[in-house]
Amino acid sequence: MSGGAEFSIEQDEGGKARLVLSGPYLVSTVGAIDQDLHAIEGEFGTIDLSAVSEIDTVGAWVACRLAARHGAKITGESGRAKRLLAAVETARSDADLTPPRVPLWELIPELTGDLVSKGGQGVVNVIGFLGQVLIACGSLLIHPRRFRVKALVRQMELVGVSSLPIIGLMSFLIGIVIAQQGSVQLQQFGAEALTVNLVGRITLRELGVLMTAIMVAGRSGSAFAAQIGTMKLTEEVDAMRTIGISPVEALVIPRILAAIIMMPLLGFYSSVVAIIGGAVVGELMLGIPFWTFLIRIEEVVPTYDLWVGLIKALPFGLIIALAGCYHGMQVRGNSEEVGLRTTMAVVSAIFTVIVLDAFFAVFFTEIGWG
């Protein structure tokens, strides 16, 4: 006999056939013969288990199923097999493993409707959340002692100070790319001296703040959503509420304030580092001395370019922190939700920032800060 589970069909004298199972009938062995067992047809009087060397609940289940399908009686089982058969017999069930599936023609309209109503609900919720934040701000103004200075400083460190190296490196490289690529194009008009204008104006006005916003959304917006989301899952947020601490005051406001305070600083820092990157390219490739490049910046970049960048940074910071905290507070159910909400926080923050940036570009030009 080989090592696996086997079966054979024998004719009894009474006329009815007998199905003889032999070998080990275990979870590790029945997989190999399950299909063959399925293919058996006809009626049997008995199923003989006396040659079965070992059996577990899976083997017992298979025997039970065979007995039910072929109208047979089980004989020759050992004491252990008898116990297992009795146990699986009582545990019979036809329930579905997964929740029932909805057919496609119902699913598509349902999903579309869901999307629309959830989109509308989402907008209402965000506005509601903003309202909660404003109310909490108001109550903090009345009771300034409840304000969490430590949490604010900690968040400012996380959002601002610890992102200095990565934002610096990114901005430096962007400055290099703008100066180098810009000079190649401007050379065609013999105007490579204008590289200074290009680098200075584009970084202070647009790219410094925009790239910083994208980096902060990726670094800190996601962290806000994941932290608050995990705290919701572990019921820390509920615990705060029961103790009488408002989660919006304790968790959301420090993060939003930290982002609003740090964004202009980071944006300015990013612009400065990008200009230094441009000046390095000027020195090495364009024959403009490093210090001359920096002095020229002062002459060619109007001060309102700096204001445009700094003013935009405030709402960008608000949007990033608001999206992160809002999605974090929306987490319920399971750990998958934390990941989903984190993604949504980053995507919606970056998207909104870029839309708003387009609006600001038109707005500032219209008011004469072109």
């Binding site: 399950d34 070992e54 577990d56 609940t57 899976v58 699986v88 493993l97 929740p99």
Partner: protein, 275 residues
């Protein structure tokens, strides 16, 4: 890639001691959890493991199932050494034990039925879908869950039902050895008593050896054949409860002869008297 079954996966363990731990030392950095710990588990028994909070009960379980590296010592499961074992040895052993973690540790994105199917798919990919669904269904029923729980997600279950669902997954591969980490913690007394009875029934029906970590004195009195006590970084005593009650060790004495210990003993005696 699906893991291959070890060639002798269908041989049940015939030896006397499915778990033998000799001179185990585990440590987190400087902090030594176990020092020279030895423990032998007999086949077919329910061994209760007790000890104060932080005494290293769960760490001992994690060391035995290979989640926590041992600094020194020897751990044999089913007669095979698993300290620094080859991956193949691990596979052969892993399909033969089931583990119920404290919180159930169910995969939250799968339904209860699908949770039970995970180990089956992993170790025995050649089982047909239909049979695998059948197995998942009766395992869930065997664990004492209602029929409609099969298609529910863990987040929709109560604490007690999660434990039962975790038990169903632990039993998925018809293990010979079952690890239970505080199975009755957080259950109401009625639910805890039911879970105890279920454990005992399954142990008798399926011929399991059970390694059971618990704080619950009633569980010890009701279903444990022997009790091992962890204190001072090692097993200070193993024996039946009457043997341990006689012990002179202050921790054991306080544990079994303190107010809760006496209450559990009295209720056991009442139950025995009534029966």
């Amino acid at each position: 890639m699906p893991e291959q079954n070890a060639p002798d996966a269908h041989k049940r363990f015939r030896g006397e001691h499915p778990i033998v731990v000799e001179g185990l030392k585990t440590a987190f950095g400087e902090h030594v959890v176990h020092d020279n710990l030895s423990l032998t588990v007999n086949r077919g028994e329910i061994l209760g493991v007790v000890g104060g909070s932080g005494s290293g009960k769960s760490v001992l379980m994690r060391a035995i199932i290979g989640l926590q590296a041992a600094a020194e010592g020897e751990i044999e499961v089913f007669g095979r050494s698993i300290v620094n074992a080859e991956p193949d040895t691990y596979l052969g052993v892993r399909s033969r034990w089931g583990v119920l973690f404290q919180g159930g540790a169910l995969f939250s994105t799968l339904t209860v039925g699908e949770n039970v199917e995970v180990p089956l798919k992993q170790f025995y990919p050649d089982i047909e879908d239909e049979l695998r669904h059948d197995i998942a269904r009766y395992k869930v029923m065997l664990s004492g869950l209602p029929e409609d729980a099969v298609s529910k997600f863990p987040a929709e279950l109560s604490g007690g039902m999660k434990k039962r669902a975790g038990l169903a997954r632990a039993l998925a591969l018809d293990p010979e050895l079952l690890f239970l980490d505080e199975p009755t913690a957080g259950l109401d007394p009625i639910g805890a008593a039911k879970f105890d009875r279920l454990t005992k029934e399954l142990q008798e029906t399926l011929g399991l050896t059970v390694f059971l970590i618990t704080h619950d004195l009633d569980t010890l009195y009701e279903i444990c054949d022997r009790v091992a006590v962890i204190a001072d970084k090692r097993i200070i005593a193993v024996g039946t409860i009457p043997e341990l009650i006689e012990s002179k060790h202050p921790w054991i004495d306080e544990y079994f002869n303190g107010p809760r210990g006496r209450a559990a003993r009295a209720s056991k005696q009442r139950a025995d008297g009534a029966a």
